[in-house]
């Protein structure tokens, strides 16, 4: 494995001119955030006569990834939400010059002594599920309530009108399927046709959308406090119900539809979200985003399978979801769309 420590130390020394004797140790690639290579490390340096130490996370663009995303959008999301009090790591440096680590990367604060729950576990939070679930849905409501312009979240994003959000997302993910499918996808194609025939009712306003807010994408400590909301790589401007539906998607924690993500009851989850966001959940709009999200999931899993099959990457994290998650979302969508078809024809 390449020795990144001296190269990272050289970069940090460049970015911290007041620091001397910069050293990096404990560089370890860690799972999570499959769209980028994620490394844990500790930096030490001398500054103002004092010895300093800071644990850091470095996220580097991959050779191939689960999804292709812009690192500056992700970095900016951390920058926008960190000062708001939302548990988000402090972003430190964004670097696009390839001379340092061959690929673009960014560096942020490491949140220590925490863990992430597995989305493939029926009880990912054990006895802490109620406490964590209440925070999880409240934090999501706060993301929806935040003004994207005031926080700076939208500063490097193309503006969009509320009535266009659904179409932009559907177009984007349909294109991914068009380009990456390795076999015909009858269920995905039926979902796309349904989504276009039944556009969602207008949303009141455009909000920040995390894009991958779910079980497994946040860190919590031993007391059940959520300490870091991570993996903003798919964030965008859009309909806040997109995040609500993705957080409640049946894939997480084995299709516990009444206890999404293996946390708290669905009704209570949605009540907390409404309270924190100041918005009401329109069930017709939510249904559209639920079906969309299962389709978006399929697109991601199809795309990751293409990366693996093409030889762009041999990382099993790309092959596994193309088997297992495709299977789940195909079944979820087939049942859902079959019922909607029966209703429409009745």
């Amino acid at each position: 494995m390449e020795d990144l420590a001296p190269r990272i130390a050289a970069y940090l020394a460049h970015r911290m001119p007041a620091a001397s004797h910069v050293e990096v140790s404990g560089v370890s690639r860690i799972p999570g955030g499959a769209s980028r290579e994620t490394y844990r490390l500790t930096a030490t340096w001398k500054e103002g006569g004092e010895q300093k130490r800071r644990p850091l996370i470095l996220r580097r663009d991959p050779v191939a990834s689960l999804i292709e995303t812009e690192r500056d959008v992700e970095f900016n999301a951390y920058r926008a939400f960190h000062p708001t009090g939302l548990p988000v790591p402090e972003p430190l440096f964004l670097e696009t010059d390839l001379k340092w680590l061959d690929r673009p990367f960014f560096v942020m604060e490491q949140i220590e002594n925490c863990q992430a729950g597995s989305p493939f576990n029926a009880a990912p939070y054990g006895p802490l599920a109620e406490k964590i679930g209440a925070q999880f849905w409240t934090h999501l409501g706060r993301i929806a309530a935040a003004d994207p312009a005031k926080t700076g979240f939208s500063s490097n994003m193309e503006a969009i009108a509320p009535q266009d959000c659904w179409k932009r997302e559907l177009d984007k993910w349909e294109k991914v399927i068009d380009e990456d499918e390795l076999m015909p996808q009858p269920v995905a194609r039926a979902a796309i046709r349904w989504l276009r025939r039944n556009p969602p009712p207008p949303q009141p306003r455009v909000t920040a959308v995390h894009g991958d807010y779910r079980t497994g994408n946040f860190l919590f400590d031993g007391e059940g406090e959520i300490r870091a909301i991570l993996d903003w790589e798919m964030c965008h401007l859009g309909d806040p119900l997109e995040d609500v539906a993705w957080a409640a998607d049946p894939l997480w924690a084995f299709q516990q539809t009444e206890r999404p993500g293996g946390m708290i009851a669905r009704d209570e989850a949605f009540r907390l979200w409404e309270e924190a966001s100041g918005m009401k959940i329109d069930p017709v709009r939510l249904r559209w985003w639920e079906i969309f999200n299962s389709l978006k999931g399929l697109a991601i899993w199809i795309s990751s399978g293409k990366e693996y099959q093409s030889g762009a990457s041999s990382d099993p994290i790309l092959a596994f979801p193309s088997w297992y998650c495709t299977d789940v979302h195909n079944r979820v969508l087939a049942h859902r769309l079959a019922a909607l078809s029966r209703e429409a024809r009745a």
Partner: protein
């Protein structure tokens, strides 16, 4: 091959997950081995059933096309359905079955889109028949996630 492939696969799953992964010091490598072990577990089932699933799907899609021929007015689509309905699987190799499966699924997508746009007397029944097939096929392909408890 003996021991049976599924038996070996499940054995490898256990060894990788319980013996190899915990002894790896590199965190990402340990995670990768965990993922690989789960995929090997899933392959154990797939090895036994893969040809059966594909042959069943191909036969069911051909039967569905045979029924649809009588209900479709579009002459070009009707002709392609009739041709596909007469087909058969010449080989039980997975690659050959997959190739035929893809061709049939492509035609199924076209037929379903056609049925959705149709308000004819048979459209609702045909749409329901297609969804019955798709739900059955999706359930038949369901992968078992290993119990890690």
């Amino acid at each position: 091959m003996k021991p049976d492939v599924p038996v070996v696969m499940r054995g490898l799953f256990g060894t990788m997950l319980m013996e190899i992964a915990p002894n790896l010091t590199a965190e990402y490598s340990a995670g990768s081995v965990g993922i690989m072990s789960m995929m090997i577990f899933m392959t154990a089932d797939e090895y036994d059933r893969a040809a059966d699933i594909r042959a069943a799907e191909n036969a069911e899609m051909r039967a569905l096309f045979g029924e649809a021929v009588e209900l479709i007015g579009d002459a070009a689509l009707k002709a392609r359905l009739a041709e596909a309905a007469k087909g058969r699987d010449a080989s039980l190799r997975i690659s050959a079955l997959d190739k035929e499966n893809a061709a049939l699924a492509t035609l199924l997508i076209e037929l379903q889109a056609h049925a959705e746009e149709s308000s004819g007397p048979h459209a609702a029944g045909l749409e329901a028949r297609i969804w019955d097939y798709l739900v059955t096929a999706a359930e038949r392909r369901k992968l078992t996630f290993p119990s890690l408890g």
